[in-house]
């Protein structure tokens, strides 16, 4: 039996249909896996912070490592001014990481493989960073489009390129994560399908590929969460410390 490799991305309604002012807001399998990821995060943090030990246990160590990792990432890329955004970056990184990792389980649903989810994050970050930039620097924030040390002649072209690159940030940010997750999972499914269709004799090669790809995908799952978080930090840095 072989199925469509894109079928895993199908969103299905679970439970009753919820409609508010004509918009379908039903609970779906996507929502379910968001909840599962969130619950896993909360369980990890709950057990990680249950007792304050001087010498941490395993789970406490994990949560503290996570904290230090993100704290270092923020201070390295965005500096001290970005400290108030630490909880947001922390939640963002952890949520995307857990959604990606939960998606690696067979028969599960990958929340981040949907463009609408990643686009929501990316647009929120984009709009938030832009507002923050204008609040912090007023109209001087537009300097971000005028890099210093560029010849006057080239300035209009450079500015246009800068504006385009700035406006394409949400698209690049969302598509990067979405495409990586979708591509990885599709490939896994395709190779899985090959294992079945080639049977006991020829199925070993795609199976070994599948195993290797699983390892790669776990790496990608972590890496994409990291990239998403670090790019958010870099955008924050642009808005907070205007030195382009």
């Amino acid at each position: 039996m072989a199925t469509n490799p894109m079928e895993q991305f199908q969103v299905r309604k679970i439970g009753p249909e919820i409609e508010i002012s004509g918009i379908n807001l039903s609970f779906t399998n996507s929502s379910l896996f968001m909840v599962i990821s969130a619950v896993l995060i909360l369980i990890l943090l709950l057990f990680g912070t249950r007792e304050k030990k001087l010498i941490p246990g395993k789970i406490q160590l994990i949560s503290e490592m996570l904290y230090n990792f993100i704290s270092k990432m923020i201070s390295d890329t965005a500096g001290q001014k970005a400290k108030p955004f630490f909880p947001f970056i922390f939640s963002l990184f952890v949520f995307i990481l857990f959604c990606n990792m939960v998606g690696m389980l067979p028969y599960s649903f990958t929340v981040t493989s949907h463009i609408i989810v990643t686009l929501t994050f990316a647009l929120f970050i984009f709009i938030g960073v832009t507002i923050l930039g204008f609040v912090m620097h007023g109209f001087k924030y537009l300097k971000i489009f005028v890099p210093s040390g560029v010849p006057i002649v080239l300035l209009p072209i450079i500015s246009i390129i800068e504006i385009i690159s700035y406006l394409s940030r949400p698209i690049s940010l969302s598509v990067r994560l979405f495409a990586n997750m979708m591509a990885g999972h599709t490939m896994l499914k395709v190779f899985g399908g090959f294992v079945i269709s080639l049977g006991l004799i020829g199925g070993w090669l795609p199976l070994s590929f599948s195993v290797a790809l699983t390892g790669l995908e776990i790496l990608v799952a972590f890496l994409q969460a990291y990239v998403f978080a670090i790019l958010t930090c870099i955008y924050l840095n642009d808005a907070l410390n205007l030195h382009h």
């Binding site: 199925t3 609970f27 503290e64 904290y67 909880p87 949520f95």
Partner: protein, 190 residues
């Protein structure tokens, strides 16, 4: 990325041919977009609030506690070290003064001992000298006495001999003179 996309499209094409199923992207179907955004906002907001209000302060608290403890321990160790160094210095200075004192005491006692010995030696020397003097005077006296005694004894013996041999007394003074002479000759011959 481009390579990945090429592989994906190729594989999708392959799959479509293999299984002749419809290969659309469910991600682009807007039916459940509002639902996904809605639930994402609710769930992410929930974990954001929980993380920022509860878990981050807790983790920060435990990390701060550990750092505090380490810093305190280090400070304590530093003060202990300083105290130990102070004590060591005190000990060293005490040892130094004690050594000096000991040297002083040793030299003093040696000097005293030497003086004592000198005094005792002098006293002993004096006593010995005295004894020697006494002994010498006694010997001299004894010598003198013994000489006179020998003289009188020899005179007696001579007069007795003469009397025994010749049967008559000799003049005492002539006996004395001859003994005197013999003694002189004897002393000369010696």
């Amino acid at each position: 990325m481009k390579k990945l996309f090429a592989i994906i499209t190729f594989l999708l094409f392959l799959e479509k041919n293999l299984y002749s199923a419809e290969a659309g992207m469910p991600q682009l179907d807007p039916e459940y977009w509002p639902s996904q955004v809605f639930w994402l906002i609710i769930i992410f907001l929930t974990i954001y609030i929980l993380i920022s209000k509860i878990f981050i302060p807790k983790i920060k608290g435990s990390i701060d506690m550990r750092e505090d403890k380490i810093r305190k321990d280090l400070e304590e160790a530093k003060t202990f070290k300083e105290q130990a160094e102070l004590k060591l210095n005190e000990y060293n200075s005490l040892m130094e003064t004690a050594k000096i004192d000991v040297k002083k005491i040793i030299s003093k006692s040696r000097q005293k001992l030497n003086e004592d010995m000198q005094i005792k030696r002098d006293e002993a020397q004096k006593n010995i000298d005295k004894e020697i003097l006494n002994a010498e005077t006694e010997i001299k006296k004894f010598k003198k006495d013994s000489f006179n005694k020998i003289k009188s004894i020899s005179e007696d013996i001579t007069s007795n001999l003469v009397k025994d041999i010749f049967g008559e007394d000799l003049n005492k003074s002539s006996v004395e003179a001859s003994v005197q002479q013999t003694i002189k000759e004897y002393q000369k011959g010696k």
